[in-house]
Subunit: 209 residues, 2 copies
């Protein structure tokens, strides 16, 4: 499996050469196509000096050609990670990664895996969980709630107590309870815990059965 680096800065290539002695390096993605490489390769895309938006075209191009692309950056960010991976990259790592690390990553992506900074993995999943449409329960019918009820529900969704909600909305705790009761009925949940979960698109105990 051949490695192919795309970078404008010559310095970073040293580490790469160390990790993959037989690797090739080019300055622009356009050159990749020119090589007309026969075998499937792994392309390492150096983002240094470029905005996220600016690498995307190159990334798309390489992905479109069937390469497995790993994006490297000196300043990793969550948003950028998701962006490039969503665009088709299979890896997102730090530019300063050690040669051994680079070989690890190469091994992973060449066998169908996905590689990204460990801390980003956890974060990514957490975000997805909230965005994933719950099949069984479906999104709560928030449209049925009155404006006031919605204000209450949203605070419950963040763990607020009745007292806190009452103070925040400048109403009595009794009134909060009244809203709660109607909310429970409208959304078909039995208590504030299930409401909080439902508001965050998380399937509930009874639903999982």
């Amino acid at each position: 499996m051949k490695q192919l680096f795309v970078a404008r800065d010559g310095r970073v290539r040293e580490r790469w050469q160390k990790a993959f002695p037989d690797a090739q390096a080019v300055r622009q993605v356009g050159e990749v196509a020119a090589l007309a490489a026969a075998a499937m390769q792994t392309v390492w895309l150096d983002k240094t000096g470029l905005d996220t938006i600016e690498v995307l075209p190159s990334l798309r191009e390489a992905v479109g050609l069937g390469y497995r692309v790993v994006v490297m950056t000196a300043t990793p960010s969550e948003a950028e990670a998701f962006r490039v991976l969503n665009t088709g990259a299979v890896g997102y790592c730090h530019l300063e990664s050690a040669p051994e690390q680079l070989r690890e990553i190469a091994l992973v992506v060449e066998h169908g895996g996905l590689w990204m900074l460990p801390e980003l993995v956890q974060r990514l999943m957490a975000l997805s969980l909230r965005a994933v449409p719950t099949p069984a329960a479906g999104p709560p019918q928030l449209n049925d709630l009155t404006p006031r009820e919605l204000m209450v529900a949203e605070r419950v969704a963040h763990g607020a107590s009745n007292r806190e909600i009452a103070e925040a909305l400048d109403i009595t705790e009794r009134t909060v309870k009244a809203h709660m009761s109607t909310i429970f009925e409208k959304l078909g949940v039995r208590d504030r815990v299930q409401l909080a979960l439902a508001m965050n698109n998380i399937p509930t105990y009874a639903t999982v059965n």
Copy 2:
């Protein structure tokens, strides 16, 4: 690198034995710890016959022990995939995967990669992009929880009441409360609502303590 399979069904082991001749198989995760394996291993968790919620405790336990866990299921689902990966699994694949495929996956996860069904990768990224770019929200320190506490917390995370948890775990409601108290303290939450949210990586109202 040694492979370790957790399954209750004997039939599926044949394929595994074929992929990894020197693999070991056990029936419950609890046995994993009993083995006191010296080297870091890869644990393959068979979900067959279990609900998503039922594997999570085992999963967390194995992850907490430092194993790389791959969850296998006969009926893959998007929601479940995100859930198990979010819980700490590094792989989510089909139970019927061919031996060659299994070896690929093993290679990937053993080198720090993430493996999931290709179609889920795309979906995952698309969902993440839609999710709100909320700032930092590190995962709760679930490692501090004992196995038993984890089982309780896991069910609270799905909206179960103390009584339901007690029945499910076949213990007294009083015991559940005891676990709850220590869980609250360990995770720094004040009630079950905040616990449920924390377990799902959702920032809470007044967590800005």
